[in-house]
C-alpha cells in the first residue's frame, strides 16, 4: 500500500469535518436573526466559518502538495492555492477584529484586504506554473484563450465600478479593489479552465474541474460583494459570506480529490 491507500481512510475524516463546518456555519448565518443589525453573534458565526473553512481546505491542500512534492507543478499549484486560502482566513480574522473592537460593520477597504487580496496572485502563480508545465508552447491561440475571460470581466467591472453611477462616492482605493478582485479571479479561473480543457480524459480532470467550480463561486461572491458594498446593501454574514464559504468548501473538496491521482498502484495492477 502506498500513501494514498493508507491515509485515504484518515483523510475522509477531514473531508467530513470540512463539510460539517461548512454546513454548521452556513446554517448559523441563515438562522441568525439580526439581519444586518449590529450583532456580535452574527460577526462571530460568519467570520469564524470563513476562517475555519479556508484553513481546513488549506490543510488538505498542503497535505496533498507534500504528497506530490513541493517541487512538482501539481504540488506547487496546491501549495500556492492553500497559502492563498490561509491568507484569506487571516484577512477574515482582521475583518472580525474591525467588527468586534471598532464596531465597523463593513471594513472595506481596510487592512483585511491585505489577506483577502493575496489569494489572487498566489492562486494565479500556482495555476500558471501548472499550465506552463502542461503546455509546452504558448502560441497566439492559447494566449487569446487565456485572455478572453479576464478581458470580458475587466470590461464588465470597469463599466460597473468606474463608469456607472454606483461608483459615485467610492474612494480611489475602493475603486481599485472593486476592479482587482473580480479581474484577479478571472485570471486564475482562466488558467484553471485552460488546464481543464487540456487534461480531458485524465485523473487530473476531476479535481481541477471541482476547483474550477470553486473559483467560479469565488468570482461570483467577489463580484456580488463589490456590487452590494457599492449599493450599500452588504452586511457581514449575509448571503455573500455564505457564497465565499461554499467557494472554499468546494476548493477543499477539489484539493482532496487530487488523492485519486496518487493511487498509482491501480495503474500497475491494470497493466499486469
Amino acid at each position: 500500500m502506498r500513501w494514498g491507500d493508507v491515509s485515504m481512510k484518515h483523510d475522509k475524516k477531514i473531508l467530513w469535518l470540512l463539510a460539517a463546518v461548512t454546513i454548521i456555519f452556513i446554517a448559523g448565518m441563515i438562522m441568525e436573526p439580526s439581519r444586518g443589525e449590529p450583532s456580535i453573534a452574527r460577526y462571530l458565526i460568519a467570520q469564524t466559518g470563513q476562517m475555519l473553512v479556508p484553513f481546513i481546505a488549506a490543510y488538505i491542500g498542503i497535505k496533498r502538495a507534500k504528497a506530490f512534492s513541493f517541487k512538482s507543478a501539481m504540488g506547487r499549484a496546491l501549495l500556492f492555492l492553500s497559502l492563498g486560502a490561509i491568507a484569506w482566513g487571516c484577512g477574515t480574522f482582521v475583518w472580525l477584529l474591525y467588527n468586534l473592537f471598532w464596531a465597523i460593520e463593513v471594513p472595506y477597504p481596510s487592512l483585511a484586504d491585505i489577506g483577502f487580496s493575496l489569494i489572487i496572485p498566489l492562486a494565479a502563480v500556482g495555476f500558471f506554473l501548472l499550465l506552463k508545465n502542461l503546455k509546452i508552447n504558448f502560441d497566439k491561440k492559447n494566449i487569446l484563450t487565456v485572455s478572453v475571460i479576464p478581458a470580458a470581466i475587466f470590461i464588465l467591472v470597469y463599466w460597473l465600478f468606474i463608469q456607472s453611477t454606483i461608483a459615485e462616492g467610492i474612494s480611489d482605493i475602493g475603486k481599485i479593489l472593486n476592479m482587482y478582485y473580480p479581474f484577479g479571479d478571472a485570471i486564475f479561473l482562466s488558467f484553471s479552465l485552460v488546464i481543464l480543457s487540456l487534461v480531458r480524459g485524465g485523473k487530473m480532470f476531476k479535481p481541477i474541474g471541482i476547483l474550477c467550480v470553486g473559483f467560479i463561486i469565488q468570482a461570483i461572491a467577489d463580484l456580488s460583494f463589490t456590487t452590494t458594498t457599492a449599493l450599500g446593501t452588504y452586511y457581514t454574514g449575509n448571503w455573500v459570506d455564505m457564497t465565499w464559504t461554499i467557494a472554499f468548501f468546494t476548493m477543499g473538496v477539489g484539493m482532496f480529490y487530487t488523492s485519486e491521482m496518487l493511487a498509482v498502484e491501480d495503474f500497475k495492477k491494470k497493466r499486469e
Binding site: W3, F68, A73, L134, L198, M204
Partner: protein, 67 residues
C-alpha cells in the same frame, strides 16, 4: 541524460517523485525505447489525458527517433 532520466524529469516536474518512480517499472529504455515511451505516454495519459500526454512526450519521441 538517458531516455529514462529525461522521462523521469518530465514526470517529476509535473507530478512529483512518487509518480515518477513508476517509470522504473517500465520496459528497458535501452533495449526497447519505443515500448518504454509508449508506456510513459500511457501512464502520463492516465493523469492528464492521452492528447496532452502525447504532446508532453513528443520531444522524447523525436529525440530518440522512434514512433
Amino acid at each position: 541524460m538517458t531516455l529514462k532520466e529525461e522521462a523521469k524529469v518530465i514526470f517529476d516536474r509535473l507530478l512529483g517523485s512518487a509518480i515518477s518512480e513508476q517509470v522504473n517499472n517500465f520496459d528497458d529504455p535501452e533495449k526497447y525505447p519505443s515500448d518504454f515511451l509508449d508506456e510513459c505516454t500511457d501512464f502520463l495519459g492516465k493523469f492528464i489525458g492521452d492528447s496532452a500526454a502525447k504532446k508532453k512526450l513528443e520531444s522524447l519521441y523525436k529525440k530518440y527517433a522512434v514512433g
